[in-house]
């Protein structure tokens, strides 16, 4: 029988916060090159830029946009949490603070949807 790995911290709020922070950071890093490509087309004239923006009207890209907004919001909220712990000596109640960060991110995502973007 192989030794079972005892994992104590899975599903703990602090672990979830660190995992989501990393994954949202990777998602944003992957998005950046596409963002620069979009900006690059603007340098080649308004027509090229408009035709590129036309590609963003399909549902898949719009869902991705919403995901990016959520990723940006959750990355910022969880980043502020880490900064508060490390530089402002904030002794956080972890579960409540992490829940607040996630709720803020989803609220921002909801506002994005409601704004009709």
């Amino acid at each position: 029988m192989t030794r079972r790995m005892v994992r104590t911290s899975l599903r703990r709020p602090g672990y979830a916060a660190a995992l989501i922070h990393r994954l949202s950071g990777i998602a944003l890093a992957l998005f950046l090159p596409m963002h620069f490509i979009a900006l690059g087309t603007a340098l080649q004239g308004a027509d090229r830029f408009e035709s590129f923006l036309g590609l963003t009207q399909n549902g898949f890209v719009r869902t991705g946009e919403w995901g990016l907004v959520c990723a940006l919001a959750v990355h910022m909220a969880l980043g502020l949490r880490v900064l508060a712990i490390e530089w402002l000596r904030y002794r956080e109640p972890t579960a409540r603070v992490v829940s607040g960060c996630l709720a803020t991110a989803f609220a921002v995502g909801l506002l994005f949807l409601l704004s009709g973007a």
Partner: protein
């Protein structure tokens, strides 16, 4: 559900039976132990060793939460077993006992604490009085900010529970770990200590305080209610300031 108990078999004073599984190397041994009022997990292990299997290896000394030697993994969570009541952790009458994570197993439930204490040494977790320590006592105001930082972390009993709970130690075996860094933080705030810069340099490396991801596992599991995460955050601040000072002087 608590298993039906044969009182004649399990002895007087029992109110039920506990099904206890104990990891012994690559296998798991099963025992049935009488359930008693106010029984601790350490009582259960001791009862197994005395009445059922004298070859079972585990470690304890004080039985009152002072020595820090009885740490084990109880139902998947690292705990001090002498102050952990069975009623709290095994409401359904089942216990799975394993050695602490992140430390080499000597035998059964006893782990080798040497890597843990070696990291205390690497983090300069010892008081350094300097070459000419003062003859008289140093007056330290109890309400001074430095003393209050020390107070917040000084009650560590070196049980290794935080070290076993830490994911970073699992991922990077060189990582100094919460207990050693917490000790370093109490010494960084000790006004009598003369090794502040050396200690900050010791904890600033790749396996030092900056590796902490603030998972908070150490803080959540510490049986003494300490918060090594916040001590490590203090070290991050002080090592950051020390780096800025060095940069400023060089410029």
């Amino acid at each position: 559900m608590t298993a039906r108990v044969d009182h004649a078999a399990v002895g007087p004073g029992a109110t039920g039976a506990l099904r206890v599984r104990v990891r012994r190397g690559e296998t798991v041994a099963e025992f049935v132990v009488p359930r008693r009022a106010n029984q601790t997990v350490l009582d259960v292990v001791t009862e197994i060793q005395r009445d059922q299997d004298p070859t079972l290896a585990y470690r304890f000394a004080c039985r009152v939460g002072m020595c820090g030697s009885c740490g084990m993994t109880v139902n998947g969570r690292p705990r001090w077993t002498c102050r952990t009541r069975v009623a709290t952790v095994a409401p359904d009458g089942e216990l799975l006992l394993e050695p602490l994570r992140n430390l080499p197993v000597v035998k059964d439930l006893a782990v080798d604490m040497e890597p843990f204490f070696e990291k205390w040494r690497r983090a300069h977790g010892f008081f350094e009085p300097g070459e000419n320590p003062p003859d008289d006592f140093v007056a330290v105001a109890p309400d001074s900010p430095a003393r209050q930082e020390v107070d917040a972390g000084i009650e560590c009993i070196a049980c290794g529970v935080c070290y076993a709970a830490c994911d970073l130690v699992t991922w990077n075996p060189d990582y100094l770990g919460p207990a050693a860094l917490n000790r370093a933080w109490t010494l960084v705030n000790d006004v009598r200590d003369r090794d502040r810069d050396g200690r900050l340099a010791a904890v600033a490396g790749d396996a030092g305080c900056h590796s902490c991801h603030s998972h908070m596992s150490c803080t959540e599991h510490c049986p003494k209610g300490l918060s090594p995460t916040f001590a490590i955050a203090g070290l991050k601040r002080e090592t950051g300031k020390a780096a800025l000072r060095r940069f400023w002087r060089r410029g």
